[in-house]
Amino acid sequence: MSSLTSFDPEESKEKNENQSPTITKDRPKAPVYQTKALNLWYGQTHALKDINLPIFENEVTAIIGPSGCGKSTYIKTLNRMVEMVESVKISGEILYRDKNIFDKNYRVEELRTRVGMVFQKPNPFPKTIFENVAYGPKVHGIRDKKLLKQIVENSLKGAAIWEEVKDRLHENAYGLSGGQQQRLCIARCLAIEPDVILMDEPTSALDPKSTLKVEELVQELKKNYSIVIVTHNMQQAARISDKTAFFLNGEVVENEKTDFIFSTPNDNRTEDYISGRFG
């Protein structure tokens, strides 16, 4: 049984509005996110400089670049988590589904309900596995026990961890291995049926085997979700992403199809970076 089928597929069709539900490789997909002239400062530090970047539906977009170039900052801006840092100042716009997320009337909670995030270090709550996954739905007002159970099961299946934890749903999540914890966090994210999933180096704290599992999962998830993934691992970016954006010193140097970036990049700096000459 593929659990993903139980996530109402009609929904993803609606998103595409007048596009055909069968998306083919060559057809332009609808952009989920449009970033326009985005600048971000941490106090005096100019961390993002004039970013223009579209992110497309049902694709995996990889963000690569040397340490400190602003990858995390950018991905955290997409769900406005970056504003938790008090000194942050932002200009420009990010359109999510054609609405500017920095609009005064835009509710961040609304945005974050539609845009899930998976963090570098697995960060389950110190609660049971069940409670971890049920957290999001509960926060959003779903109280029905039966429905919650169903959501938890589906989400855990969606994150390919159901088989491993189905007999210990009421044990503390901290008893899981790092890799399992990370997939639990992905399940937690799936539980509110997001539209986009942001992942900030989701495998950097995992061993190779767990990494492989998460990568396979990402491939699977992209059928239903749009994914933005930050990674330091060139092979990973090449393996799993459709588009790759190369960041350097807070600027987007190049944003292209992944095959293209890794074979014939336009910019010398991109070539230097992916061939390991710096960073």
């Binding site: 769900n79 988590m81 909670e109 974050r112 709550f125 110190p126 999001g136 926060v139 937690r188």
Partner: protein
């Protein structure tokens, strides 16, 4: 020619090392001094209480006859005090801590409240007694009742709870908050469902510390004008009362007249110390159990 006379240095070295050794034991003796004092104190009080501390001592009411006098009323009074101090300091203390840690902008107001709290922590307890006497006993007309005593005591121990709760909240790792916000939870939802549950052990430890302090405090109660008379066991927060430390106080000063009162005071102290010991053990257990969970 050598600049340093090795022989001389060697000789001096010996005395320096000797001095070091002597002082080391001197310092150890100083460290143990307090502990020896503590041991003598407890032994002495315990010896004084032998023969007086029995079950009937706990269940008898106060009496001028030392043979049948007990601490039922005082123990009930202390319990009643806790009924007020517990919820009041929990609500106000944790509320203040959440406000300071999660909501208040780090600016003038924040540092004003923070400084104010640390200054309050240093105000002598008898001054809180004067405040309680004026505001609760007289202006609000509560008289020397449990509610007057409880509220006075709550204000006195509030800083302890605030500081402990602040520390507990601050030590909740940021990644848990991020996870919650990332799910679209609001600030209050995040605090209620993630931050507070994770901070509970620290908050409880602080609460226990605060209650232990409130159980043993005497001066503010004396200032509220609680009499040494025989008072019926209180039945509501508006009744007059006496408390364990008050009982110790009156029996101690009256021991000059009736020698057995000294034994009664000692027996009451033992009860008080046992209660405090148990409470602190619970605090230690909580702390050890919940240490390093992440």
């Amino acid at each position: 020619m050598e600049y340093i006379d090795r022989g001389h240095v060697q000789k001096k070295m010996r005395t320096r090392l000797l001095l070091n050794k002597v002082f080391k034991y001197l310092f150890l003796a100083a460290t143990l001094f307090g502990l020896v004092f503590l041991a003598i104190l407890i032994t002495r009080v315990f010896i004084d209480s032998i023969g007086w501390l029995d079950f009937s001592f706990l269940t008898n009411r106060l009496s001028f006859n030392p043979e049948i006098a007990g601490i039922k009323g005082a123990a009930a009074g202390t319990l009643w005090l806790m009924v007020i101090v517990g919820p009041v300091t929990m609500t106000l203390g944790v509320g203040t801590a959440i406000y300071l840690e999660e909501y208040a902008k780090k600016g003038r107001l924040h540092s004003f409240i923070q400084t104010n709290i640390s200054n309050l922590a240093g105000v002598p307890s008898i001054v809180f007694g004067l405040l309680g006497l004026t505001v609760f006993v007289r202006v609000l007309g509560f008289g020397s009742s449990i509610i007057a005593g409880g509220l006075t005591m709550s204000l006195l121990v509030l800083p302890i709870v605030v500081v402990a709760a602040q520390e507990a909240i601050r030590s909740v790792p940021g990644f848990l908050r991020e996870a919650s916000y990332g799910m679209g939870a609001t600030k209050w939802q995040t605090i209620k469902k993630v931050v507070l549950p994770a901070a509970i052990p620290g908050i409880l430890t602080g609460m226990i510390l605060a209650l232990s302090r409130a159980i043993g405090e005497t001066a503010p109660l004396v200032a509220l004008g609680i009499p040494a008379l025989i008072i019926p066991v209180p039945g509501s927060i508006f009744d007059n009362f006496t408390a364990l430390p008050m009982q110790v106080y009156y029996w101690t000063i009256d021991s000059a007249l009736t020698a057995e009162y000294l034994n009664l005071a000692a027996a009451t102290i033992i009860v008080l110390l046992v209660v405090l010991f148990l409470m602190n053990s619970v605090a230690i257990i909580i702390r050890n159990k919940f240490q390093k969970r992440y």
